[in-house]
Every structure is written in structure tokens, then in C-alpha cells.
């Protein structure tokens, strides 16, 4: 079964949102267009629309997260859904309950949607296969696999600033090997037609045969970001030094840290993105993170609109299907 098979219903509409891989371009564009419609909601005095009134969304976080969980929480609330936040890492699994049992218990609470973050790749896919037919699953990040709403909010941010994907050069810099954000970015941007997509990093942080996904690999930052329209920097985890993938954070910053000087190699109007949380002085210099080309905080804002769009599309489809 392909990822797309499980994500789409018989009419090709979104039923779960597990991975961007395999989804058609028209559907990604539809998500972006719907997010445009939801974006103004956040600017209003009353930041709520009644679309999902009476529906229950459960945030199941098997791995700690602040930003993603908060923005999913806000997105659901702005759609007037009831929200249940469950930090499962700290509860059931420590008592030895299996994932399948945890899911059955949550199903019994009559939720309509699970937003799932899990440290193991494929967890969201597994959960989508397991849940009762009336429950939809949104992947809030699974292991190193995908983080599809992040991929879509990055695409949304890029479209807001650069309009046409088919003319862009985009570089993704840093720890691609361990990054679910990078994988979702690559899938989204390739599907949306970006012709020049690059990944930049030392060989220890670039996963094998990533070229198969239609990207060019650079191990030199200057070459990798030259004339780019967008530079996406990835977070570097401290563990990478412990597992001998890198010598030190200092050396990483010297070779791959995005500084104002280096950013001048990209196009003058290039934008700088980061999925957060940022390590200042490791993957990005403060002057760049806080500079005029940075759109890092806009990404956070847009994340709410994109997540509203995905939730509304899935539960809206479901409501239609139920009525029919």
C-alpha cells in the first residue's frame, strides 16, 4: 500500500495527512490556497471560525514538542474544535501499555482526529492503519521520516514571498540525514515544481542516495547557496557530536553556519528559513536569524493557517462523506 493510498479517499480527497510523498500537486496547491483563506482569521479580533464546532481533536505527542503542539492546538481551537492535549511520552508508554492499546483507549474517547508526533519513523502510517474508520490522522512528525504540515507551511511561506515555484533555486542546509523537515520539504518542493533543489552539508549528515529524490548534493556551503532564492537552515542536534558525525559545533558553524557574509552569495532578495528552534551561532548567526531576509517568525504564524487548512479539509471531507 502506498502512502498516497492510505491518505486519500475514493474521491482523491485528503483523509489522513501522513506524508507529502505521493500526493498530487493539485492537492498541495489546494492546501496552500485554503491556508490563504484561513490566514486572515489570526488577524481578527475574534480569532475563530465555526467550521469544526463539536469535533474533537486529540494531540498525541509521544515526543516532546512546544511549537508544533501549540500551533496545532491553536489551529484546532480557531476552527472551534475541542482539543485534547496528551503528553503520552510521560504517561501510558512508561507504564508498559502498547501503542495499539493506547490508541484503542483514545478511540473510546470518541475523538475525530489524532495529531500524532512519535520518535519512530512510520508511526503515523501505522496509527492511520490501526484507527477506526471515522478517525483521521495528521502526522505531526514521525522519527526522521516526514513532518508534512511543516513541509506545507514552508511551501506556503515560500509562495507568499516568491510566488512561482517553477523558477526557484532552493538550498536546504545542514543535518538532512536526521531531519523529517528536510524530507517533507524535498517532497513538497519537488512536487510543486521547484527546478533547482539542493541539499548542503558534510557527507556525514547527507543520507545515502538522496539524489534519487531529485536534489543536488553540495558539501560546500558557498557553492550550495550561490544564487539561491531561498535558504532553509536545519537545526543541528547536540547528539551529532557524540555519535562522531561532526567534530564540534564550532567547526560546524565555521563551515556551515549561515552568516551575513555568506548569505550575500545567495540572491539579494533571498529569504532565510528555519523550522526552529534555532541554535544561534551553530547553524545560523544571530544577525541573519534576526535580519531583514529572515522569515523564521512568519513561518510560525503561517503554520497555524496551514494546519487549519489541513484539519478543515480532512474533517470537512468527512462531514460531506457522512452527509452523503
Amino acid at each position: 500500500m502506498s502512502a498516497a493510498d492510505i491518505q486519500l479517499d475514493a474521491q482523491g480527497r485528503l483523509r489522513h495527512f501522513i506524508a507529502i510523498e505521493g500526493l498530487p500537486r493539485a492537492l498541495l496547491t489546494q492546501i496552500l490556497d485554503n491556508a490563504e483563506r484561513f490566514a486572515p482569521v489570526g488577524d481578527r479580533a475574534v480569532k475563530k471560525v465555526p467550521l469544526l464546532r463539536g469535533r474533537t481533536v486529540a494531540n498525541l505527542f509521544f515526543e516532546p514538542s512546544t511549537r508544533t503542539r501549540t500551533t496545532f492546538d491553536l489551529a484546532a481551537k480557531r476552527l472551534s474544535a475541542d482539543v485534547l492535549n496528551l503528553n503520552i511520552e510521560a504517561s501510558s508508554t512508561k507504564k508498559g501499555e502498547s501503542l495499539a492499546d493506547t490508541l484503542r483507549n483514545l478511540e473510546a474517547m470518541q475523538c475525530d482526529m489524532f495529531v500524532v508526533r512519535h520518535q519512530v519513523s512510520g508511526a503515523a502510517h501505522f496509527i492511520a492503519q490501526q484507527v477506526a474508520p471515522h478517525i483521521s490522522v495528521i502526522n505531526g512528525g514521525d522519527g526522521r521520516h516526514e513532518h508534512p504540515t511543516q513541509g506545507m507551511l514552508d511551501a506556503f511561506t515560500i509562495r507568499r514571498h516568491k510566488q512561482d515555484f517553477t523558477r526557484l533555486s532552493i538550498a536546504i542546509v545542514g543535518d538532512v540525514a536526521h531531519s523529517r523537515v528536510a524530507r517533507s520539504n524535498i517532497q513538497a518542493l519537488k512536487t510543486l515544481g521547484v527546478p533547482d533543489l539542493r541539499v548542503v552539508g558534510p557527507k556525514t549528515l547527507i543520507p545515502p542516495q538522496i539524489e534519487a529524490q531529485g536534489v543536488q548534493v553540495f558539501d560546500d556551503l558557498d557553492e550550495g547557496i550561490r544564487d539561491c532564492d531561498v535558504v532553509i537552515t536545519l537545526r543541528l542536534q547536540q547528539e551529532r557530536m557524540q555519535s562522531a558525525l561532526l567534530p564540534s559545533a564550532n567547526e560546524y558553524f565555521r563551515e556551515y553556519g549561515l552568516t551575513a557574509e555568506r548569505l550575500r552569495l545567495a540572491k539579494p532578495d533571498a529569504i532565510v528559513m528555519h523550522p526552529g528552534p534555532i541554535n544561534r551561532g551553530v547553524e545560523i548567526d544571530s544577525a541573519v536569524a534576526d535580519g531583514v531576509q529572515s522569515v523564521i517568525l512568519q513561518q510560525v504564524t503561517y503554520g497555524i493557517a496551514v494546519r487549519m487548512a489541513v484539519m478543515a479539509m480532512i474533517l470537512g471531507n468527512q462531514a460531506l462523506a457522512g452527509a452523503a
Binding site: S121, F126, R183, P208, Q209
Partner: protein, 426 residues
């Protein structure tokens, strides 16, 4: 008791025989193929018209799960499932609980097997205590209890000195070491073959180098120690050449590949299908083809089932949290025949690799129909079509990718030591 297995296509690779003939058996031994010895009259006749009569299969690494994991499988049930699948001998792996590192566990398993009335069960002992790779198991005591070889399975021995000593001590005890070669450090975090699929799915990879390095390391140490070494379940194309070269230098080394590794590649994992979570991992198409070719040329001696039955929960989790292994007895014959039909190798090679060669690797008599050989045989219908369903599976393990798949070829009867251990109800 004298049996005439009448009119079957008798395939006996050791004697270069492949043709319709009668097989004559007496008191658990082969008397003759072809014409009856002068004056012999059979007490019983088995009509094998239209069927193939072959020496029974051997699995060099069956995880029989008992003691310790009876929720996955039991020795008795798996021994019967093996018999129904054409196996006359299976080797129980030492990853039980407690581990087979002392004679008591060996005796326990042999006792359960003896009363099962299925395939003959042989026992592999642990190379190190608890399979922990630190302290040598009491190899002489294990041998006295009846183990036919020693293995540390997929628990790679980190310490090269321990490995060196284990090989040398096993050589003194005159026991074959059965190795699943994998470098500990390159393999420890991985779950699938390292390459485009591990990158796409975001699953930590195990590079082919993990196996190839271990093959070189173990060949070097075994040569120095004079140990008899068998590599089990090879997965990487590049593992074959060093083994062939070592054999050419006169080293006592053999190898097998699991049937699953001849059928599937890492691409079959698709989107996290846990049925394809195996150890060693499924690799690329080039590896699969090179391994099949190595079977065809004899560079790889044997094809194993590598039977690993699991309970349902062991596979009901996200890929990385599932247990590796595939339940393979029930589909072994038709899948092997499909490889033959696909041109990977001929039928005589397939049967030789599943029967004669593993007998030789274990130093056991059998795997052929020379006069005096044990009456260990399977009779199968090579054209019978059937579909894999819950009802047809005799192993406890439901962890097979063949559910609802049509198969061609089915075992009709299996004899171990002159006794029928399986006869299909017609």
C-alpha cells in the same frame, strides 16, 4: 518394513538422478532407486504417480521459540509444520529463554521434539553465554548434549579477541560455527538496508559493508584457528567473493542464503511493511540477483528457510519497533519452485541446496538416495495450486507476506527415518 515409492519423479542431485523411478526403502534406510533388489517385495506401496520424490529439506536456522517464547511458537507445533512443508530436519536456534548455552536446555528441546512426531529437530548451541558475546559457552558439554553447531546468531560479537577465542575453542571441540556476519558498530542502530529506501523512509540503515567486513574478519580468524565456519543468511553480493576465495585456499567454509533474500529486496518494504523487517536486512536487486547466481554456481552452498515465527503483537507496531523475521515453513516449497520457474537455478540445484548441502554442512548423513541413506524424504505435487490462508498455515507464525497469495506446489507426504510424519489428507 519395506516401502515402494512407486512411479514418482525421483530427484537425487547427489547421484545425478532425475527421472521417473521407484524408490525402495527398508527399515528406515534407502535400498535402491529403480529396479527392486532381487527377490524384494514391498510391504507397502506409496503411489507417487505425477509427484516428485526428493530428499527432505533442512533448515539451518529455525527459531522454534521454546523455552521462553511459547506465545510465538512451540517446538512441537513448528516441528509438525516443518514436516508438512517437506522438512525432515530443522536446526533450532539458541535464542530461547533461557538461551541454549547449557545441556539442560538442549535436553528440554530434544524431549519436546521427540514427542512431536514432526521433522527431526537438531539443536544449535550458543557460542557465548547468554549470546552476550563475552564468555565462551561450555562447548564440550553442549556437544555431549547433542548440539550440531554453535552460533551467536545476529548478536554480533563486539570484541574481536572473544571472537578469535570462540572460533579457536570451537575448533578444539570440533564444532562448526554458524555465523550471521554483521559488524556490531555498523549494524547496531540500523533496521533496514542503507540506501535510497532508508533515506526515503527515514529509517536508520545497515550498510552492506557491515556484513562484508564481518565476513572478512571471521574468515581471517577462522583460518588462523582452523575453525569450521558456516555463514548463514548472507544478504550482500560482496560477501560472496571472499568466501569463494577462502574456499579456494582450502579453508573449511560454507554459506547459505535465506529463501526470502532470494525473493525480496528492500523495495518490498514499501511503506513500512513489517513483514519485510528482516535481519540481515533485505538489500538491493543487484544483491538478490548476485545471491541467486551464487546458488546456481555453488558459490553459496545452501538455501535456508530461516523460519522466524512471531506472535501478532511482535509485528503490530511502527516498523522500527517491530521484531525482525518471517515465518517461512509453509510457503518454502512453492516459493522455491517459483524461483526455479523464474530461471534463478534448476530444480536439482534447488533441491540440492535445500537438502544435500545442508546435510553436508552439518556433517549429517542424508540428503540423497544412495543405498543405506536414511529414509528422509518429501513427496510433493509440483503443479498443485493453492492459496495461503489462515487455515492453510500450520506454523504459529502469521508473519508472512504471502497471505492470500496463490502458490503452485504442495507437499503431499514427508518421511523421517522410515516413518511418515506427514501425509496430506486427500
Amino acid at each position: 518394513m519395506r516401502w515402494q515409492i512407486r512411479g514418482g519423479r525421483v530427484i537425487d542431485p547427489a547421484n545425478g538422478h532425475d527421472g521417473v523411478a521407484d524408490l525402495w526403502l527398508e527399515d528406515g534406510r534407502v535400498l535402491a532407486v529403480g529396479r527392486a533388489p532381487r527377490g524384494l517385495k514391498a510391504d507397502e506401496v506409496f503411489n507417487a504417480n505425477g509427484l516428485v520424490v526428493a530428499p527432505g529439506f533442512v533448515d539451518l536456522g529455525s527459531h522454534l521459540r521454546e523455552p521462553g517464547f511459547a506465545h510465538k511458537a512451540t517446538v512441537a507445533r513448528e516441528a509438525r509444520a516443518a514436516a508438512a512443508s517437506g522438512f525432515t530436519t530443522v536446526c533450532c536456534t539458541p535464542d530461547t529463554q533461557p538461551v541454549i548455552d547449557n545441556p539442560a536446555v538442549v535436553e528440554h528441546i530434544l524431549k519436546h521434539a521427540a514427542s512431536a512426531g514432526g521433522a527431526r529437530v537438531l539443536v544449535l548451541g550458543a557460542l557465548t553465554v547468554g549470546l552476550a558475546g563475552e564468555v565462551l559457552a561450555e562447548m564440550h558439554a553442549l556437544k555431549a548434549a547433542g548440539v550440531v553447531g554453535l552460533s551467536n546468531l545476529d548478536r554480533a560479537i563486539k570484541d574481536t579477541a572473544v571472537l578469535k577465542h570462540a572460533l579457536a575453542y570451537a575448533a578444539s571441540a570440533e564444532l562448526t560455527v554458524i555465523s550471521q556476519p554483521e559488524d556490531y558498530w555498523l549494524g547496531r542502530q540500523g533496521q533496514v538496508h542503507e540506501g535510497a529506501v532508508s533515506t526515503r523512509l527515514g529509517i536508520p540503515g545497515i550498510p552492506a559493508a557491515a556484513e562484508v567486513i564481518a565476513v572478512h574478519r571471521e574468515l581471517t580468524l577462522a583460518a588462523a584457528a582452523g575453525a569450521r565456519l558456516h555463514f548463514s543468511r548472507l544478504s550482500a553480493a560482496d560477501s560472496v567473493k571472499p568466501i569463494v576465495e577462502a574456499r579456494r585456499r582450502g579453508q573449511a567454509v560454507s554459506a547459505d542464503v535465506s529463501l526470502a533474500h532470494l525473493c525480496f529486496t528492500v523495495d518490498d518494504i514499501g511503506h513500512y511493511d513489517p513483514n519485510f523487517h528482516l535481519r540481515p536486512p533485505l538489500r538491493e536487486k543487484t544483491d538478490r540477483k548476485a545471491l541467486a547466481k551464487a546458488v546456481a554456481t555453488g558459490a553459496i552452498d545452501a538455501i535456508s528457510a530461516g523460519h522466524e515465527p512471531h506472535d501478532v503483537d511482535a509485528k503490530a507496531a511502527p516498523f522500527g519497533l517491530t521484531e525482525p523475521g518471517m515465518s517461512t515453513y509453509d510457503t518454502f516449497l512453492p516459493v522455491l519452485l517459483a524461483q526455479v520457474a523464474g530461471g534463478a537455478f534448476d530444480l536439482a540445484t534447488a533441491i540440492g541446496a535445500a537438502s544435500l548441502r545442508p546435510h553436508q554442512i552439518l556433517g549429517r548423513e542424508g540428503g540423497h538416495f544412495s543405498p543405506g541413506a536414511p529414509s528422509d524424504l518429501c513427496i510433493f505435487d509440483p503443479t498443485r495450486r493453492w492459496t495461503v490462508t489462515d487455515d492453510t498455515l500450520l506454523s504459529s507464525g502469521r508473519n508472512t507476506p504471502y497471505f492470500n497469495h496463490a502458490q503452485t506446489g504442495r507437499v503431499v507426504a514427508t518421511m523421517v527415518g522410515g516413518e511418515w510424519v506427514f501425509q496430506a489428507s486427500v
